[in-house]
Symmetry: C3
Subunit: 206 residues, 3 copies
């Protein structure tokens, strides 16, 4: 309990769970969002690290709380089961990477960590090096009428990673359309800087 106080955890839970990784934040947060949706748990804290094992992006650490060990364990189990799914639209080559995320209905992890609106569609458009992310953001905003939640660039960001990131909310069809248009533009740009960008798991945003 003394440890939790020092960790800037505000509420009191009887059980705490932590998910922490070296590479990536989007897939982990979208996966945890499924975990939170299906259990009686809450996200307490999300922290970002300038890591990615030498890449230009970030790792993250998610702390969740609950009142029953089986709930917390279940939330983490659901998170891991969803990770491959949400890595489906992360494409990389030697020059950098392009990441897209989309959900028709955001829950407590995405609202807490990224300012998503509860129950509304939410999307992430992200790339390294940063300029690709910004051009993709521009494409997305020109494609469909969506709301900007945040724009992050290297110096206006939680951690000085080499990323340009746009998060959006709105009507689910519009958010999906914006994300898909940004993906097309991003893969084209990143592909011009190296090999054809490849994903490790099948794309889920159709």
């Amino acid at each position: 309990p003394e440890l939790l106080e020092k960790m800037h955890v505000k509420k009191h839970y009887s059980v705490i769970g932590i998910v922490s990784d070296r590479t990536g934040g989007g897939p982990q947060l979208f996966s945890m969002d499924e975990g939170i949706k299906s259990t009686n748990t809450e996200v307490i804290d999300v922290e970002w690290t300038n890591d990615t094992k030498g890449g230009g992006g970030q790792g993250c650490m998610i702390v969740i709380g609950g009142y029953d060990p089986s709930d917390v364990r279940e939330a983490i189990k659901v998170t891991f089961e969803n990770l491959h799914h949400y890595f489906g639209d992360v494409y990389g080559n030697a020059a950098g990477y392009v990441e897209l995320q989309y959900t028709a209905r955001a829950a407590g992890c995405l609202t807490e960590a990224l300012g998503a609106e509860e129950g509304k569609a939410f999307g992430i458009i992200n790339a390294c090096p940063a300029a690709i992310g910004i051009v993709m953001a521009d494409t997305a905003l020109k494609t469909a009428g969506v709301n900007i939640i945040s724009v992050a660039t290297p110096s206006h960001n939680g951690s000085p990673s080499n990323e340009g990131t746009l998060t959006i909310s709105g009507e689910s069809g519009a958010v999906r359309q914006a994300v898909i248009a940004a993906r097309e533009r991003g893969l084209e740009l990143l592909g011009q800087m190296g090999d054809k960008p490849a994903n490790d798991y099948p794309s889920y945003i159709q």
Copy 2:
């Protein structure tokens, strides 16, 4: 336009250009300075990233603005044409690297990004690990009468990179002499920690 507002861009331009990289800032900024000199464009924003593909330094992102697409395109073309030149005094080995930059006459990119004085000589003395940069800075300041513009160390810096950096201005002969003396000291120190430091392109500071 909504995107630009969120990106902390203050002035209004009709055309925007972005140069973004994984590794290095000095060569990109000095190259863009040539692009700005030769076109009707301005540097709007420079942001730093803690990247270098796993190295101890930084990458950067430069946003420029203009009123004519051909100007912005030309500025970026000139930037790319100058990159090899300004990578000429970047020397590395497995232990780290030493970077020197010098111009007899700074223009709008170096003034905006690094506080150089318009039209005056400007130099950068930089190395990783940080201690080498500091010893080089000491050598430079003992060699010639120049003005300190900034001293950056890991915790007093835009991004927590492992660099010691001195930027100087003044009479062009003095700035060049200071930079050359620092280079000699830096190559000697870095060489003691590994192989002879090597540059990928011919040195341009003579």
Copy 3:
């Protein structure tokens, strides 16, 4: 002297020494603590870098001051002689690392850099990815009655590294016992994420 002023060095010394590295902070600071104990020198400044050559941790830079060149040289010599010793409880594998440090009696480097109490036992419990460090911290605090000096997580830290870190002081037996229990838990967790974590030098905390 103008350089030192810009470097945020407050006191005036006639001789300055700098130790700077790409990877690690604990071993360097504990080694420098021995250097400070055995000479008439003081630690002026410790800065952290988000480096580790692509790892999830930090490098550091230590600036010391003295009044006699031979003192400063001796302090740095003692530091280098102790480095292998204090790397003895740094264990790594492809997934991350676990670091433990312990001294029965902290001196001027650890007090200045990490808030240790002069002359009292002091320990560090640290791991990457961050969640391992937090579980280890929890184990340590449940094992023995020690005082928390600091808890660092990725976003509540000098630099956005992927580390969870606990520093503790107290009765020397209790601090050692807490550190040893945390080590056991950390090696177990990190081992589950990859190969058996290995140290490069013999463990010194028994």
